[in-house]
């Protein structure tokens, strides 16, 4: 609270009362209990993939370093894989750590994809890392991430 600037114009007690009043009003009317809090990414990863831990590597996530509009951020995820019958990507999951629901999308691919590369547009509720986890046909998990500064955050209130 930036009470100090106005200290000379308002006596201490009255200022405190005013602040309390202001908090009560904003708290009650504009911050309902259902306000969306960020979800824990690690928990979301564990929910989808179980106890397996992703190793860093093989996954390239691309988002603009600065996103002016968090309502629509272009996203590209590529996974380094030969995409053969023996060795291919079966799933790519995208997570946003500052979003109320960490899991953004869950893509299922197969050897017929030919290329493990997907693009979409996502919402970002603030500046954050976007993490992608790829599951290979042998069951191994790989992850990569990218960071973006978001000027206008999406969908949180």
């Amino acid at each position: 609270m930036s009470g100090k600037q106005h200290a000379s114009t308002l006596p201490g007690l009255r200022r405190r009362a005013l602040l309390k009043g202001a908090l009560a009003v904003t708290g009650a009317a504009y911050l309902p209990a259902s306000i969306a809090a960020p979800e824990d990414v690690d928990a979301a990863v564990a929910e989808l993939f179980g106890s397996r831990t992703p190793q860093p590597g093989k996954v390239t996530v691309k988002i603009p370093p600065i996103s002016e509009n968090g309502y629509s951020v272009p996203l590209s995820v590529k996974v380094d894989s030969p995409m053969t019958a023996q060795n291919h990507v079966v799933r790519i999951a995208v997570f946003a750590e500052e979003n109320p629901i960490a899991l953004v999308a869950n893509f299922e691919l197969g050897q017929r994809a030919g290329k493990a590369s997907i693009q979409s547009r996502i919402r970002m509720g603030g500046s954050q890392r976007i993490r992608a986890v790829a599951e290979m046909s042998d069951g191994s998990l790989w992850s990569g991430y990218a960071f973006s500064i978001v000027t206008l955050a999406a969908c949180v209130v």
Binding site: A105, F107, L109, R112
Partner: protein, 105 residues
């Protein structure tokens, strides 16, 4: 619902082709409020599927973190002539479909 598909009409056997699909949909997140402060109910597309001659080649489970008018781009290997079917399913089970013909030489 306007649907836009970008897919090649012909390809050589074995080519990896890019498919792009976009559908007009608000993807209402359920986190926004209207002008009176009432929450706006969530209304999103839940699944997207691409069938190549009846076989699923790509599937996506979508969440509120996907932007409005969802756009998806992915790849598949051209194996035989036939149809590409693009299907969206919303949270209530309503579906929208679009087809594209692919000629493989």
């Amino acid at each position: 619902m306007t649907i836009r598909i970008s897919a090649p009409s012909s390809a050589n056997r074995g080519d990896v082709i890019e498919l792009k699909a976009m559908i007009q949909h608000d993807m209402e997140s359920g986190y926004r409020r209207d002008q009176y402060g009432r929450p706006i109910t969530r209304d999103i597309l839940k699944y997207f599927e691409c069938h190549y001659n009846g076989e699923i080649v790509f599937r996506a489970e979508l969440f509120p973190g996907i932007a409005a008018n969802p756009f998806l781009s992915f790849y598949t290997t051209a194996t035989e002539s036939g149809t590409l079917l693009f299907r969206w399913i919303d949270q209530n089970g309503q579906t929208w479909e679009e087809q594209a013909l692919l000629e493989v030489t």
